[in-house]
Amino acid sequence: MIRYSLRRVVLLIITLWLLTLLLFSLNYWYPGNPLTNMSGITADNLIAYQQAELARGFDQGLLSQYLKFLQHLINGDWGISLVTEQPVFDEIKPLLGATLELGLLAMALALFLGIPLGVYAAIQQRGLLDRIIMGLSLSAYSIPVFWLAQLFILLFALKLNWSPISGQINPLYAIDVQTGSVLVDILMSDSPYKTAAFYNALHHLWVPVVVLAIMPLTMLIRIMRNSVLDVLQQNYIKAARARGLNDRHIMFRHTLPNALQPIVRQLGLQFSVLMTNIIITEVIFNWPGVGSWLVKSIYERDFPVIQAGLLVLASLILLVNVFVDVIHAWRYPQIRKEIDAE
């Protein structure tokens, strides 16, 4: 198990290293001056530019430029934005918080609803409720997220007036941005209107979370249903029944843990899909996260920001995938046999 985890971590490091190679080369492929693309410092500011030339090894060869690039990356000196002229690294921290808040809540919602619904559909196989659940999940699965988001805004914000159109919180509450996750920020703040602010934030939050959760939710329902049906066919479940164990015990101790295995395996993949959807959703709901920031920087050709955004999103997906792999191997020991090819 430890060996397996170590191997995954080594793989993670290698992948991250390849990612830095790509990011480094991008600076030379973008139009313009590589040094400006990398550091965000233009030749207009001659003194700073000459300092950057030395600091980033531009008086030497490509190899030392790459080594200096890595060094800056690790030290958290990711250059400054070409547009705002603020350090990219400081800008990205609260944005990441906002993105994670949205993503984690959506994932939690999808898991919270998807697993029971899938199990229920499987137990009621071919019954009316099964058909309804599966029909709805298939239709929801075929709706692209950008359209769904617009529909939700149209319905819940404009027609029913249940939620604001966009944004994170009403600016009147004047909550200081610390982590970027608005709920955490409210809890950490000493505003006299904490409770009201919290409700206001939830008001803003629920529509994008639901929009984001629908895609993984439909996937989870379908995987869970098939997986439960598959496990119920297995010999060990039949044997457990024959031994006279009661149904609840079999469901919670044998069926569900085994049926959850494909879910755990899928989580990493679902997270990658979620991240793509999060970029679109953040743009539509004007959510101050990494996704909308990245899209904006592409329009503005803000190369240091593009670089940082790519790095953060890609590392996040890689990290989650490795984490899920390790959890999977830890909880489902029989797959270690496949891994080690015993």
Binding site: K238, A242, R253, Y332
Partner: protein, 332 residues
């Protein structure tokens, strides 16, 4: 010895695209307390189906009828599924071929054995109950001949060999002291050494605590010496049934004789001569012959064989044949 399992004319019908097929056709079987009964049948003979029907692993699409399906004083066919599971769960247990697939792949063996120990056998409150569960699980493993209980209890099923997995299955099966153990080809695809261990273990358990065993096997060579009675089924029909020794020494039914010749043929047989076999092949479900299903393949078959023969009883054995190999001397 008293009869604990009494089956008379059990018929299982299956709906197929080619109409209704009787996969079991009027099979009768009696099992006495503490007896080892071997049920022999080739693949497709319905022997596993019979075992499943006794255990109540019933597919709702099967139509089961019987003049009698009694387990001790319960009429199993009249019980509702919940009551039936209660009775079978308490009194019967079954072990299978591929024992590994009957163990939960993601739960440690120890936990799986512990959960089969009936609550009624445990005393004390939570922690003491938990400890006594572990002690009892260890004892069960010792009883099935696993000495290294620590290691086995900490393993997952994929880490065990099939032989050890079968022993674990047996341990779980005997956890609640069942009256009947059904062993459905428990040693198929096992090494001879392991196979003998398992058979010895089952015989010992039967003798030690008066547990009846219904041993389902494919061929006559794997009949254990301890087996008191045996039955042969072919294509869902009972061919012959009686004391094991008698059947093996003086078969009445042509099918039994053919099986004996196939299984224990003369070692001094001349080279390049045909081995003794029945002509033809086992018919498919859709093409079952009428009457005695052995008919087209039977060396003794005559015109009468298009009617299903009734069971002839004679000296505590039964056979279903119009033209048995030996004359039945005394009718009673």
């Amino acid at each position: 010895m008293s009869t604990i399992l009494d089956i008379r004319n059990l018929t299982i019908e299956l709906e197929t695209s080619a109409g209704t097929v009787k996969v079991l056709d009027k099979v009768s079987l009696q099992l006495a307390e503490g007896e080892i009964h071997t049920l022999v049948g080739e693949s497709g003979s319905g022997k596993s189906l019979l075992a499943k029907a006794i255990m109540g692993f019933i597919n709702p699409r099967w139509k089961i009828t019987a003049d009698r399906l009694w387990w001790r004083h319960y009429d199993l066919l009249s019980l509702n599924p919940a009551q039936r599971r209660l009775v079978t769960g308490r009194d019967m247990a079954m072990i299978f071929q591929n024992p590994g697939s009957y163990l939960d792949p993601n739960t440690k063996i120890g936990d799986q054995i512990r959960e089969t120990i009936p609550k009624a056998d445990l005393k004390g409150i939570y922690l003491r109950r938990k400890a006594s569960r572990t002690v009892r699980a260890e004892r069960l493993l010792h009883r099935v001949g696993i000495k290294d209980h620590q290691k086995v209890m900490e393993s997952y099923p994929y880490q065990l060999s099939e032989g050890v997995a079968q022993k674990v299955s047996i341990a779980m099966a005997i956890a609640h002291n069942p009256k009947l153990l059904i062993a459905d080809e428990p040693t198929t695809a096992m090494e001879p050494n392991t196979r003998n261990q398992i058979y010895r273990l089952l015989a010992k358990l039967s003798a030690g605590q008066g547990m009846s065993i219904l041993m389902v096997t494919q061929d006559l060579t794997s009949i254990v010496p301890e087996s008191q009675r045996m039955s042969l089924v072919y294509c869902g029909q009972l061919m012959e049934s009686g004391a094991t020794e008698q059947i093996l020494s003086t078969p009445m039914h042509p099918y039994t004789q053919a099986m004996l010749q196939m299984s224990f043929f003369d070692q001094g047989i001349a080279p390049k001569t045909r081995l003794p076999t029945l002509t033809g092949a086992i018919p498919t479900l859709q093409h079952m012959p009428i009457g005695c299903r052995l008919g087209p393949r039977c060396p003794n078959a005559r015109r009468d064989c298009i009617h299903q023969p009734r069971l002839t009883k004679f000296k505590q054995r039964e056979f279903a044949c119009h033209f048995p190999i030996r004359e039945v001397k005394s009718h009673d």
